[in-house]
């Protein structure tokens, strides 16, 4: 056998290559089965960036479907709740140019709001419960409904189906726990530095020691 191969070096080389190909092919095949990635990892990462309001303003039924669409080449600028920061993060992740927010899908809300049901007016139709994508509305047929405000994402999908228009979107009021310092006003830099620039009616500074 060896003598035969030595006689035909071309055949020997061919055999060696075929053998290597078979071994590596088998190895790769095994790895593909053994280390198979569950789901779509890129869509998962995109989904992590999306704000999970599940509002459907992008035209997809929830954040996950939009994440999958982005992974398949959809534009990244269709998510108003994510805002510019969200688009920037997506652009960084996918290494594409950040686009301005597509105004067709709505504007960035000034402040995140939560749904509030005026309970006296609620007729207990359960339509909002069916509309809520995160099960944040509590109630039963012909019973008053209410919103679990800590779970509400502010997607306002419950406002439309309400037959008596008793749902308001209200910005959550600031409490001691949610208050924080704001960045200093940049205007303070452009204040008149020279004393004579100041308007006459400004009270003179207290010099009493």
């Amino acid at each position: 056998m060896i003598a035969f191969l030595a006689q035909y070096p071309l055949l020997a080389a061919l055999l060696a290559l075929v053998g290597l190909a078979a071994v590596f092919g088998a190895l790769l095949g095994f790895a593909a089965v053994r280390f198979k990635a569950e789901g779509n990892p890129i869509a998962d990462e995109i989904n992590n960036i999306l704000p999970q309001t599940q509002c459907g303003q992008c035209g997809y039924p929830g954040c996950r479907p939009y994440a999958e669409a982005i992974a398949n080449g959809e534009d990244i600028n269709k998510c108003p709740p994510g805002g510019e920061a969200g688009i920037q993060a997506l652009a960084d992740l996918l290494d594409v140019e950040p686009l301005p927010l597509d105004s067709e899908h709505g504007e960035v809300a000034a402040a995140p709001s939560v749904a509030f049901i005026r309970e006296a007016e609620c007729i207990g139709c359960t339509k909002c419960i069916q509309a809520c994508p995160v099960d944040a509305i509590l109630g039963a047929a012909k019973q008053m409904h209410t919103v679990i405000s800590s779970e509400c994402t502010g997607c306002d999908l419950c406002v439309e189906p309400c037959p008596v228009d008793c749902i308001d979107m209200i910005p959550p009021h600031e409490t001691l726990q949610t208050w924080h310092w704001n960045l200093p006003d940049p205007v303070s830099r452009s204040v008149n530095v020279i004393a004579t620039d100041a308007p006459r009616d400004e009270p003179p500074r207290d010099r009493v020691a």
Binding site: Q52, P133, D135, E151, T175, L183, P184, D206, V208, A209
Partner: protein, 673 residues
């Protein structure tokens, strides 16, 4: 002399401490109203346990701790609960917060207090419980519950207990006054802490600008094994991590706790409060507060009840509001401007600073950063304030975290050193808050995602269940149909299904019928053919005189009967089909017409009828209906149907009988006529 270390950076602002230590601690007395905010510490607010109008004694618990990181609140004096409402509190936001308002009765009557002077015989966990029940929270500034700090995780080896008597911030002398006047209490408190924690050494760290305090402490600490260590004055030596580095040379890791390097720290004020709580059983209801600044005539330290409005205290010190443009709680470096001077003193109010404009001028407008690097030299946490400033302006939060923004203790040394007057600390505070907000948002998004996905799953599951039920019902119906088919007995459901199927088949159009018809015709034709061939064969056989004549004869006869049967089936089918077709075709074409015609015919017939006849026919109809309804009623009663059905049927019977009697009357009338 113990070797001390130093930390990076630090500044030396004017101390201004001498003004307020000229007189001993004065008792502020009982104000006309006490306002006790439910949240005076880091952690969950306390829960109210009193009612409006209730009379409380001094030291009685009025709000209980809720959760692990929380402490209770006690009545600072005896009096009546006047209100439980939202009041303005000492907080930079200027927000209202829930408070308990007490109107004192002036008797200052103590509730019964049970002290534990021999604490060495008591379990340590029980002592920590006593400290917690007394409402002791860090009195240095942050207000972290002391009991939480003392509950060191099991297995952590604590080498050093440090009592923090540094008080590095300018103007404040509350701890200095305590050291001068209550050194014994501090040492006793330190001994209690030493018993609870069990460290190898106990140190009291004091800056060398308080020689009287150091001397008093040293005298009191004689023979106790507690060492009083003094070290050069530098702001901010009083920061927990900075003090640990000064005294032990160890650095607390970034984001870590002092216990990780074997150290526990307690403030002087908290130590005294712990002494009071353990030895005398008295809760934390008052504290020493410095009132100072050039806008008060007699700067001094007061022993003041918690909840005392600042205005009351300031007036005791000779406050001159016309000289004061902003009131600061805390010191000039880390304090904040209070929204109003009617806010109450709380556990963390170590100082009220009422400066004049000349003393603490409004910061001039910020100018551009000139990258001088003085902030980095001043930073006690070895951060890069300038870098952090750029990132904060650009809102580059990831970079801020990479540059350890969260190790910033907000001491203000960088802002103090900045020649461009940039309010650096405010940038850091805002950025920290923004990052925390982002973390919270991300957590919420994660929770929303999970909720959304589980909802999706639930909906799918419900759909699948419905589908499965539908399939099961279908299967059951089929099975029943099969079993009914084999059964000879009359099954009403089976009959109904058969009827429905027959109807469906009839409605399905001529297609099936055509094939059926063809099939029947084919059978007839093939039977005919077979009969023909069989007859010819028979004749042949007869002609040949074969043995098979008899057999062939029977075969021909059999075929003939089959043909007859097939022909019969065909005619029967044709008849029924024609009928069906007639039924089917006629109504769609002029069903309406037919109905109209029928109705018109009926109408005409009725019109032709005399009133008598009409009444008679009506009566007959009604009686028929009554009979039917009664039958139904009897049946449903026998079946044990729902009560509703029976009631409805009964009422129908009654109505029909009424109608019958009415019709009978008209009949009578017609007859009479």
């Amino acid at each position: 002399m113990r070797k001390t270390f130093t930390f990076h950076g630090g500044i030396h602002p004017p101390e201004n401490k001498h003004q307020s230590v000229r007189t001993p601690i004065a008792d502020a007395g009982i104000p006309p109203e006490l306002i006790i905010p439910l949240s005076q510490h880091i952690g969950a607010p306390a829960g109210v346990v009193v009612e409006i109008g209730q009379h409380v004694l001094k030291g009685q618990m009025i709000a209980e701790a809720q959760g692990f990181v929380s402490v209770p609140k006690h009545a600072p004096t005896s009096g009546t609960i006047h209100a439980i409402e939202d009041r303005l509190i000492a907080h930079p936001s200027g927000h209202l917060a829930p408070c308990i308002v007490i109107v004192p009765d002036g008797k200052d009557e103590w509730i019964e207090c049970k002290g534990t002077p021999h604490y060495e015989t008591v379990d340590k966990v029980k002592l920590i419980g006593l400290i917690r029940d007394a409402g002791v929270a860090g009195m240095g500034g942050a207000g972290f519950p002391s009991s939480v700090k003392l509950s060191v995780k099991a297995g952590t080896h604590i080498e050093t207990l440090i009592i923090n008597g540094t008080e590095c911030e300018p103007y404040i002398t509350a701890d200095d006054a305590l050291m001068r006047e209550r050194a014994e209490q501090i040492i006793e408190g330190a001994k209690i802490l030493r018993y609870i924690i069990g460290p190898q050494e106990t140190l009291i760290g004091v800056e060398d600008n308080k020689p009287e305090g150091i001397a008093a402490l040293r005298a009191a600490a004689q023979g106790t094994g507690i060492e009083v260590v003094d070290f050069p004055t530098k702001y901010p030596s009083g920061g927990e991590k900075q003090l640990i580095e000064i005294l032990t040379g160890k650095q607390v890791p970034s984001g870590g706790l002092p216990s990780q390097v074997g150290v526990v720290c307690q403030n002087i004020g908290s130590t005294v409060a712990i002494y009071e709580a353990v030895v005398h059983g008295r809760p934390l209801i008052s504290r020493v507060t410095t009132v100072t600044g050039n806008a008060v005539r007699e700067p001094q330290n007061f022993q003041v009840l918690l909840g005392t409005p600042m205005r009351y205290l300031l007036e005791k010190a000779g406050y001159q509001p016309e000289k004061n443009r902003r009131m600061i709680m805390g010191g000039p470096m880390m304090g904040f401007t209070v929204p109003d001077i009617d806010v109450p003193i709380v556990k963390t109010t170590n100082c009220l600073l009422a400066p004049t404009e000349a003393e603490l001028p409004t910061p001039p407008p910020a100018q551009a950063c000139i990258r001088c690097g003085m902030c980095a030299e001043a930073c006690p946490a070895s951060l890069l304030p300038q870098q952090l400033f750029w990132f904060a302006q650009g809102k580059e939060f990831e970079k801020l975290e990479e540059h350890n923004l969260f190790d910033c203790i907000e001491c203000g040394a960088c802002s103090y050193a900045c020649p461009s007057n940039i309010p650096l600390v405010q940038y850091y505070r805002a950025s920290k808050a923004e990052i925390l907000q982002q973390r919270r948002d991300h957590e919420k998004a994660e929770a929303s995602r999970i909720r959304f996905e589980s909802r999706q799953q639930r909906l799918e599951q419900a759909e699948a269940e419905k589908e499965a039920k539908r399939a099961a019902r279908k299967k059951a119906a089929e099975q029943r149909a099969q079993s009914a088919g084999t059964d000879t007995g009359e099954d009403p459901i089976q009959a109904a299904i058969a009827r429905a199927q027959a109807k469906k088949a009839a409605q399905q159009g001529a297609g099936d019928e055509q094939s059926e018809l063809e099939k029947l015709e084919k059978t007839v034709v093939s039977a005919q053919k077979r009969l023909d061939t069989a007859t010819t064969k028979l004749e042949q056989a007869k002609a040949e005189g074969s043995d098979f004549v008899e057999a062939l004869q029977t075969g021909v006869e059999k075929t003939r009967t089959k043909l007859a049967a097939a022909e019969q089936a065909l005619t029967a089918y044709q008849q029924s089909h024609n009928q069906a077709a007639a039924e089917q075709d006629a109504p769609p074409v002029d069903a309406a017409k037919a109905a109209i015609e029928k109705a018109m015919a009926k109408r005409q017939a009725e019109a032709a009828m005399s009133p008598l006849e009409k009444a008679q026919s009506d009566l007959a109809k009604l009686q028929q209906r009554l009979q039917k309804t009664e039958e139904k009623l009897a049946q449903s009663k026998a079946n044990g149907d729902e009560e509703k059905v029976i009631v409805a049927l009964e009422s129908t019977v009654v109505r029909l009988s009424e109608k019958i009697s009415a019709t009978q009357q008209t009949l009578q009338a017609a007859e009479d006529a």
